[in-house]
């Protein structure tokens, strides 16, 4: 069964450093998303991406964040200068032509 994969599973970084979180969406999917979940809290939408450009973004997705689809399979989230409050689980998701959205296993980001 096709699935969304994410790497790394856990990333530890120092405050102010840049991190890149990687995702491989399901191969025939068209829409890609990044979500954030602070421990024990709800899933928060960050950004959606379609046809090689951002289609929607939330207030959380400020100038320190960027997304890219550098090739036909990968989808990345870059955080330019990490802050302590960026510590969270980051989930990538994708949908095909329907609405069914499939999530990856997540990357736990710890900023120290």
């Amino acid at each position: 069964e096709p699935e969304v994969t994410q790497t790394p599973s856990h990333q530890v970084t120092q405050m102010g450093q840049e991190v890149i979180l990687r995702c491989v969406p399901i191969s025939n999917h068209l829409y890609f998303y990044w979500y954030r979940q602070i421990l024990g809290q709800k899933v928060e939408f960050l950004v959606s991406f379609y046809n090689n450009e951002i289609s929607e973004k939330s207030e959380i997705f400020d100038d320190q964040f960027s997304v890219e689809r550098p090739d036909g399979s990968n989808f990345t989230l870059k955080i330019r200068s990490t802050k302590l409050e960026d510590s969270a689980m980051y989930f990538c998701a994708s949908t095909g032509s329907g609405n069914e959205q499939y999530f990856g296993p997540g990357t736990r980001l710890t900023v120290t």
């Binding site: 809290q41 709800k42 899933v43 939408f45 959205q101 499939y102 999530f103 997540g106």
Partner: protein, 111 residues
């Protein structure tokens, strides 16, 4: 502004019981309502979803009831099992890209 309101925050039932989790929304543009199940340390997994043209959808032990006029929908888990212990999130999507999630319900099924 919370687009989708979910309750209760936590729920404890005995094995075999029928936990019910409720969600409410305001935006009438929402036209797709999924439920996700999340185990600790894992990503949310799509469980079941409904569109507003039907009032109920059943898949195995999971049932969504949908009340379009009240703008509410709920998840029922029949014959609940300890393995159903997880966090459940409702969500709504307005045919655009963004999915709006509820705040989650932590379900514990006691053997």
């Amino acid at each position: 502004q919370q687009q989708v309101k979910q309750s209760p925050q936590s729920l404890i039932v005995q094995k075999g019981g029928i936990p019910i989790i409720n969600c409410a929304y305001e935006n009438t543009a929402f036209d797709y309502f999924p439920w996700y199940q999340q185990f600790p340390g894992k990503g949310p997994a799509l469980l079941i979803a409904i569109r507003p043209d039907v009032s109920e959808k059943k898949e195995g032990r999971f049932t969504i009831s949908f009340n379009k006029s009240a703008k509410q929908f709920s998840l029922h888990i029949m014959d609940s099992q300890p393995g159903d212990s997880a966090t459940y999130f409702c969500a709504a999507n307005p045919s655009s890209n963004q999915f709006y999630f509820g705040t989650g319900t932590s379900l514990t099924v006691i053997p």
